[in-house]
Amino acid sequence: MVTKKEIKQSFFIALWFIVLTFPIMVIKINTIKHTVLFRWGNILWVGIAGFGASLVWNYFLRMKEEKKKTGVKDDIPVVHRLLQNEKFRNPFLAAVGVFFLAYPFIFPMYHTSIMITALVYVMLGLGLNIVVGLAGLLDLGYVAFYAVGAYAYALLNLHYGLSFWVVLPISAMLGAICGTMLGYPVLKLKGDYLAIVTLGFGEIIRIILENWDSFSNGPRGIPNIPAPSFFGYQFEQHASVVYIYFIVIALVLLTIFFVNRLENSRIGRAWIALRDDEIACQAMGIDKVKTKLTAFALGATWAALGGVVFAAKTSYINPMSFTIWESITILCVVVIGGMGSAIGVIAGALVLILVPEYLRAMAEYRMLVFGALQVIVMVFKPEGLIKSVRKTYKFEKVKE
């Protein structure tokens, strides 16, 4: 229930927001034409939004507190319960499979192309999930490895004429090497320092790509990157998009397959242990250095693979595609989807990338919404939309 006190409080908060946003929301200046525009109407909107947001915010904050007090254990997310249900599982997976198989033939090319982008983000998200979600290493320079993959394909193709299929494994290896190279100097760093340094690395790579003309062709980028061929056969444009779509689907399946196995393996458990408690983890005989480096290397591998697909799909790349905001978008996919949860990340990527693409009116507000969502998710639902659920094992009681 909303109390009178809360309404009063929300009223004052709304007033505060009106004052707070006044110069930026109401006044719009044009320093070239020397005109000022007063948008008084915005006061009303800010007031209403502030009032509503404050009520909702307080309500959820109170719910969270109460939940903490009563100590109710969180339920397993619906998706997991459905997937654990044998009866439901197979028809569901079959339906999803059919949908994605039929997708490029039902929808026009434009939609296929958007879906490719979203699926590339699924790959990137799952890769970053290893680093951030499982190993707990906040990497804000993830886009650097994406750039490594994209430029590896573009440059190797330009100079040596290597094809997509040859570059794919090479770039995966390059990604792993770069990931290790980044990982090594930052081994000792924790949490926030690590975030800043990786952010720095990401920016360094981008600035180098922008300025080292003879290597990367600078801000002009590299055009005419060929689409992948099918045993030497080059498709015409439409078929080529469909072909790339299926390549991405295959790569995503492969990623899910591997990531799922990794998550419940010796290595995956070591990552989680490292995330939860670094000291206890070492005291249990886990080599911190090796574990961190494998996380960085594997995460980077998938980013590089994503980069190759991206370059092949857009046929043109320049450093502007690899800014820090790209890293943050991928981070949003992981965080909002659910850190450590593969299903969450997949859902997160599809929702966060597809929704703004289709709601063109919203596209402008995309980053604004992402930012707000990051805060809201962290405050109210730190485990993300679909939280991770650990594997359970069944045992027969041994009779003695």
């Binding site: 989680i272 939860d276 005989g285």
Partner: protein, 263 residues
Amino acid sequence: MEPILNVKNLTMNFGGLKALDNVNIAVEKGQIAALIGPNGAGKTTFFNCITGIYEPSEGHVEITPPGKPTQRLNGLKTNIVAEKGLARTFQNIRLFEGMTVLENVMIGRHCRLKSGIISAMLRPSAQKDEEQKAVSDSYRILEKIGLDKYVNEMAVNLPYGAQRRLEIARALATDPFLLLLDEPAAGMNPQETKELDELIIWLRDNEDLSILLIEHDMKLVMSLSDNIHVVDYGRKIAEGTPREVKSNSDVIKAYLGDDSEDA
């Protein structure tokens, strides 16, 4: 016969502060040894020095694992120390919160398993067998410790006493020859403490383990220990059987006026 843990002249400086000053402690095979002393005496620092979390400023830490030659532990990394067969628990419980009880124990198995990234991804039959064995071994350990009913629970959701026992289970999973317990009974009720007492003795008798524990619960220490080492202000002030230590005048002086220490 060589003691399985032999610490000689161990000194640990933090800046100007001597947290440990020339401490000598030896643990014999099959012994339950206790390390006691007032708060801040340097007991946990001692554990940290042995297990490689701190590098001792001076002195030797040597181990003689059963059937193996004597080795030096100084300067080895924490995870290598665990691999050599020293497992520990923590005073402030440090479980892996994002994992189930079983997985916590499986982390302990980590250093005894081999499979790497490639085999985890491709899952050949050798890896499958190893994983299967790790699962059943871990479950066996949980059964021994009496935690098997919690096997798929998240570790954070366990009651306090069970969390302490889970730390022991996790340490056991590393196949140690020496178990280092840092205040295992802290925060336990009398019933839980009694069960812990039985568990520790059972471990020594049936698992071929030697145990070194830090504990404030004097009743538990006196009933359990074969040998007690007393430290105060970083120095060792006494050593002996529970009876000898109880009547030692230095020990009484160190504890004098500190009622909270003997329960």
